[in-house]
Symmetry: C2
Amino acid sequence: FVEKDFHPLRVPVSRRPALDDLLRCGICYDYYNIAMIIPQCSHNFCSLCIRQSLSSKTHCPACFVAASESDLRNNRLLDDLVRSFGSARQQLLQLVQDARQTPSPLG
Amino acid sequence: FVEKDFHPLRVPVSRRPALDDLLRCGICYDYYNIAMIIPQCSHNFCSLCIRQSLSSKTHCPACFVAASESDLRNNRLLDDLVRSFGSARQQLLQLVQDARQTPSPLG
Ligand SMILES: [Zn+2]
Ligand SMILES: [Zn+2]
Ligand SMILES: [Zn+2]
Ligand SMILES: [Zn+2]
């Protein structure tokens, strides 16, 4: 057998969720959109998601520490990271695509 | 000429600084080590770095907003991101190494 099923280029795609998951809001599961931190517990959510949640509840949805809208602070670095991660991922996918095209029998 | 100087696998390494830079402290330039956020301006530093700075100065070293040690809050997601980014980078480097070994004349 030739090592037909060994595709090293698939590795980062399948192991990607770690970084990817960390940049997602626990309420909407999408990437942070205007990330806000609850300073007392260090949890983060999209601005809209957490404001909606705190309009009816008085605690952090992740750890239930008491929290209100006035506690929220921007966590701008997360917004930068979401953008930067998005373009890094684009480059990686392009890379995988290029690498797959090189040895293609259709080439 | 064969396209000897075209190494698509070098792309993410050379373009890596974006994500990489975002996860570095502006005081020590190393990756965040126990990241702390100054909630009033959203700037982040290592715990030790910013505590040392605020022991002699009364402002954020990045934007000069008034700040004191008691303002600091953990930004734990940044610590998780540093760890996760570190292992993603390891995998990517391994990947590049594997890909280079495959067509090697020494193989
Ligand atoms: Zn959200
Ligand atoms: Zn919380
Ligand atoms: Zn530092
Ligand atoms: Zn600042």
